[in-house]
Amino acid sequence: MSDASLVVEGLTKRYGGRTVVDDLSFEVHPGRVTGFVGPNGAGKTTSLLMVLGLAAPSGGTARFGGQIYRDLSSPLRAVGAVLEIAKGHPGRSGRDELRVLAATHEFDDRRVDELLKLVGLGDDAHRRSADYSLGMRQRLALAGAMLGDPPVLVLDEPLNGLDPQGIRWLRSFMVERAAEGRAILVSSHQLTELQQVATDMVVIDKGRTVAQGPVAEMVSKSQAGLWLRCAEADRLQAALERAGHEVLRQEADGMRVSGATAPAIAQLALDERILVTELYPIVANLEQAFFDLVDGGQS
């Protein structure tokens, strides 16, 4: 039996005739941070809404410890969620926003104050949440997600609006929570930041799973290669391909070359009498792996 904290199986969503999420399946495990990435419009938010019972799937299920979200008897103790579309009432203070949530599960006000301090909003607790910066609202949402000290966290674009200190703080927050054994599912556009915390990755595009697995494995599969910029790019590309190297033309005068060393490329260019203006290795990273997966490295 799987030890997964969240199991998503065949999740599908159709609006009219349009399929927004198509047969999505993945798992999120305790003690691991699972990144959930995809281009804009890939279906990330819709998927998370279905996972959290806020949108009805057209097919498939998402189960937390075997139960769908709606059936959880005490949801805030089971799952903490931060969703980008969630907002606070403009007339209510940050503290009152949390008190309202806390009241549904009979958490007392001390827990609210404790969490406000944890996320660094202790001094701003009584300010109206409408006056909060985006970063402060994200911190408030995280405090809300932690109210019930849940074993699973679902975070939708939590890095948005955070300043560098905030991003650093959130990174530590996620790493510490995962180290405590919590399962974290986090969607983000900020792949460089995500690479620093995510242990696993689910990549979706056009509503479908494109890849999933450990981040290290995904990055190692990335076709890093060498970046090359030159005069007469068409002629050099043809020469490289004749020599058996794989070339991905990304700009009029620039290309990515796989399967060749820098000296080999330089020698080939010299033989062809073509001026090379840039030649350097591309470091394999999550961003590159992502682009390889979603658009075949065209970006």
Binding site: T45, P75, L83, H89, P90, L101, E106, G144
Partner: protein
Amino acid sequence: MTRPLLHAELLKLITTKRTTTIFLLTSAGLSLLLTLLTLLTGDNVNTAQDVLDTLTSAGLIAALVMLILGAVNMGGESRHGTQVGTFLATPVRWHVVLAKSLVHTLAGLAAGALNIVVGLICVALFADASWPSFGNVVLQMLGTLGVTGLYAALGVALGTLLRNQAAVVAGVLVFLLVVEPLLSSLWTVIQKYGVTGSAGEMLTAGGNNGVAQGVGALVFIAWVVLFTLAAFLVIERRDVRGD
């Protein structure tokens, strides 16, 4: 639906005290204005029945304001995006609608009580007519409390069904002040058993339009239950959209 959820919904109402206070004061203020205008202009209030009719009109205005409060607060969950947190904490959404209805019924009762106090003071100070009997005053008070409470709950149901705050306020005003009176003029059954008609009968001691107060109360309660059940169905089927 549980006590903690009721507590949470009550907290929502209390922690947006500016909005709640404005609506309660508007409710009481409009009642006061309408009662004073009726009592001080012209020669309209001469009998005990005239006094009851004056209190009925004031009560209906107060109730209408509380209906808008219910609709605005429920529609606000969608408008302000607070519904996400609300439904994450309480995934069985009809429980939220029910809890909000009950809490707004309490707010409506408070408005009704204010309305009664304002109305009776005005009558005591400015009416030349004889007082209605003690029994009728009690029935009028009970009717006012019931209607203002139920109107607030009806507002929650309508706010759930229509979601958009502006649409629900405009829709309610057009329906109750234009469409229903128009239909009432064509069919007496609407006049007697429509939403406003039955509310008026529930509110008035002894009833109205030839319908007893108790019957009017039952019909009006049925209307509120009907709209609330429709709200339950809609809220359970509606997706929270990310776009």
